[in-house]
Amino acid sequence: MIDKQQLKEFVLRLGDDSLVLGHRLSQWSSNGPFLEEDLALTNVALDYVGRARMFYGYTAEIAADGSTEDSYAYNRDCRDFTNLLIHELPRGDFAFTMARQYLVDEFNLAYMERLKLSRDKTLAAIAEKAYKEDLYHLRRSTSWILRLGDGTTESHDRLQNAIDDLWGYTTELFEMDELDQEMSKANVGVDVASLQPEWIRQVTATLSKATLTVPADDWVVTGGRKGIHTEALGHMLSDMQFLQRAYPGQQW
């Protein structure tokens, strides 16, 4: 049996994943490689920020302590964030952004497909919406992987470098700590470890088609779920949270 505190912590993790990735994507807004892609990428960013609002809103509802979606986004420090590390890495060049997006999209689509079956009705409803968004995200990111990987020497090399730099962060996607196991056992969460073989199969197929090499598993970094982050998150938060820190409670 899971208690309120466990459910809150679990939902908060999903909110952190969505917000941090959404914010990273939003850093392309008005800086995209060309207008059409700028708008498309910003749409994806908005999907994630919207998702973060739903998860944070639900977290606040469970907590019932006067917290709001904004307090989770703006009034917590690095160590309180429990997002997976892959989401917080700086946006890098366009190849890096699309490489991360593709790896994460493959994971998220499978994840949301399972979360739709959650016994928790709110999580199932959020997953229903997120799944549809992810179908489109994956379609976009897959075509970019193929275009850049099988493109020019420079686009191929940049994308291969990005995949190499990201690979050690993908193991964490499939890690199950005690909370994940409890949530999965209660049919509320997802058994992420079971998603790994299919993810590897899909990613390998796409990378091969894009003339890219699947990196060796020779390094792994984890810690996000425990609040142990890369140095990148603090810088991101200092920017993202500036306004609420300088003018607490400020509204639109």
């Binding site: 060309f34 207008l35 059409e36 892609e37 708008l39 498309a40 749409n43 489109y136 379609r139 075509s143």
Partner: protein, 90 residues
């Protein structure tokens, strides 16, 4: 990149209408960008994209020979017909 013209059908029963244009690498990408640029506020249920260079357009210089001869043929206009209210979207 190539230029594409975008046509959107706002709902069933209506025609696709020209909504704008965009740049894309290929038709598939053009379709996806059209979705992102022109349908994000639920403007449509169907999208067509067409290579702009595939459109054959009349020219300003054609006006005289194309349209002026119709000016003195008012009997071709349906201006005096009363349209029943039930007929929408004409």
């Amino acid at each position: 990149m190539k230029l594409y013209e975008v046509f959107i059908r706002s709902r069933r029963g209506l025609d696709h209408k020209h909504t704008g244009s965009l740049h894309a690498e290929n038709p598939q990408q053009a379709l996806e960008y059209a979705r992102d640029i022109y349908t994000r506020r639920s403007e449509g249920i169907s999208i067509w994209v067409v290579n702009s260079s595939d459109i054959v357009a009349s020219q300003e210089s054609d006006c005289e020979s194309f349209y002026d001869p119709h000016d003195d043929k008012p009997y071709r206009h349906a201006a005096h017909y009363q349209l029943p209210d039930e007929v929408n979207n004409m």
